[in-house]
Symmetry: C2
Subunit: 384 residues, 2 copies
Amino acid sequence: MYATRLKRGVTSTRSLDIIRWVAIIFGSVTGSGTGHKSMSASNSAITIADIARAAGVSVSTVSRILNNKPDVAEGTRQRVQAIIAELGFTPHAQAQRLAAGRSRAIGLLFPDAQLSLMREEFILGAAKAASDASYTFYLITSDLTRHQLMALCRSALTDGIILMEIHLRDWRVSYLKRLGFPFVMIGRCANNNGISFIDMDFEHGIAQAVDHLANLGHRKIALLASPDDVYERGYGPAVRSRDSYARTCTRLGLPAIIAPANDTQAELAEATNMLLDRHPDLTAIVSMHGDTTIAVYRALEARNLRVPADVSVIAFITRRAAELFTPPLAAIDFPAYDFGYQAGRMLIARLQGSGSVEHILPPPQLILRRSIAPPRTLRPNGLA
Amino acid sequence: MYATRLKRGVTSTRSLDIIRWVAIIFGSVTGSGTGHKSMSASNSAITIADIARAAGVSVSTVSRILNNKPDVAEGTRQRVQAIIAELGFTPHAQAQRLAAGRSRAIGLLFPDAQLSLMREEFILGAAKAASDASYTFYLITSDLTRHQLMALCRSALTDGIILMEIHLRDWRVSYLKRLGFPFVMIGRCANNNGISFIDMDFEHGIAQAVDHLANLGHRKIALLASPDDVYERGYGPAVRSRDSYARTCTRLGLPAIIAPANDTQAELAEATNMLLDRHPDLTAIVSMHGDTTIAVYRALEARNLRVPADVSVIAFITRRAAELFTPPLAAIDFPAYDFGYQAGRMLIARLQGSGSVEHILPPPQLILRRSIAPPRTLRPNGLA
DNA sequence: TTGAAAGCGTTACCAG
DNA sequence: CTGGTAACGCTTTCAA
């Protein structure tokens, strides 16, 4: 029935790792002609004028009805709506947007870095906030240049945007602020006057985690941090967490042991090994990384060290991912979906004129799971 | 410096599980006035006409230059472009779209069900395909009613859409086909004439998994399937996998043991327990579920059964998630990112007139990880 | 309560 | 190669 051709060539693509198979089947296109091509999105489709004509009213009236304006006679409204329903009319959003000068759309500027299991939650949360408010939702990947950001604002594609991966001094923030283009941040700058944000409180989160471990009796607690260049570039989470860690260690009279690493399993494994080589008496690790922290588990396992018997581990991670670990990974909970949702909600509130500047910094929540325990030396008379 | 107010009220929201904290900080808005409100996306912004005037040419000419049309004198082009750069002009996408009748946008209709770690990959893959082709990308969540789908098509917001969660007979497919609105599917119907799709080959994937387990010596292999109502509703993956499982068991002379369950940890735990109660001699489980399969691990653990020593487990899951399991979860690999990317690419090819109908059904790839082994009885003289 | 008409910022056709 | 000008489909004054 089908003539099947199998191209198994290595049709590789830029950043895509594999396209190892492409089977094109030339279907015997029966029935409805050769594929779809009739109305590609703007045919002789029915317009507001058609409705007006059919109803014997003016386009203005139809427009008013479409937009639920009050000044329309009830009878007219009913009649026109009947016709709209009958003809299956639906307005052309593109035109509405141009005429109205608003897009009823928000966009999420999503960092184009590698995948991470928690990021889906940001996206879906923000998308939900948009759809709850009848806004459309753009996902904009890739890190924008200044010019692209300008183009995005000018394009009027969105009424406002959500920014992520915020640096303490962020050119995008200054730019948008100067332009007066509405935005909110997931993350925050050094100075956030007049800008709404929701951010993880890395500072207190780290302090809380280290305090907890210290209370359990740990004395050698390492931080698996972001790479040095990220820290030096002033990336918020990197700076706040590392600084907070250093201060907390000082306060508790503990040594500060920092291992920078990129968010990949390979680098984390390497960093873990380095830590264990240099500090054989290490009993706890706090990881700034998410699901890649599995590499820490694996590195420990390879050395016959057990979690948490020999080393306790804690990370910043979503519930969903934390529970895939064995033992389940204790965490400073990262409610990414909520962050996305809140950001979307704040932005839309802003756009609708309700809503003042909001700074949301939820108290970090430590979720104790089985990856932490008192250190081995104390275990006989365990404190937990 | 700040007056901080903490609302800790239970400001619960519809589907959102927690908004337990809202800290509004009334910043002493120094510097740039009270927030941003100056140019909300459509100020007295500079237009193509301004450029034309400044350059002493007509708008048509500027438009041609903007769209890289060939029929423009090189000198003019240079001059105008200089002015465009100087004035920082960027076209108004909304207007371009209306005038051109194309949106250069695609949308992904994303099922509004619960989160799943693999779904991010679909989204980001599709978004990447869009951005690679300079298209914008809409993420449309929520399951659309017929009317909403109609509105989406008519709105001209997108030139085409990607459909997911396809049923063997899918009203959306018939509708879009009849309308002639461009779309591609991740998944496939019973009849796919004239429609491009990329789909997981659940049929062969299941057969491959069961065959592999049988070859290892397993004789009691259960399928953790989709719920019955999903099967009966004709949801593609549910039907194809369950039917294939049944056929494969028949072919191999093995009993077919099917445990339907929704894709939640609770239901999977329950289903696993039921399986073990009824079939104490069970030695392998094939799961149609993704990261929720962790519940199977936990249920086994609770009964002191070990993976893979006592029970082998295999699932449909992405690499990233599979490797968080301990032991790492063997899988029929689900390259969701690639699926998203391919779907986006196909759709755009379609929109640009290149590209014929493509049916992509990659050969399923079994990734052997440490969650499978020969059954206990055979282990002494193991076959693997 | 309704209608006419002027945009919204582009593109595209058609003359020149 | 360039410039007018009519769309694109809707919203929004402003009069009636």
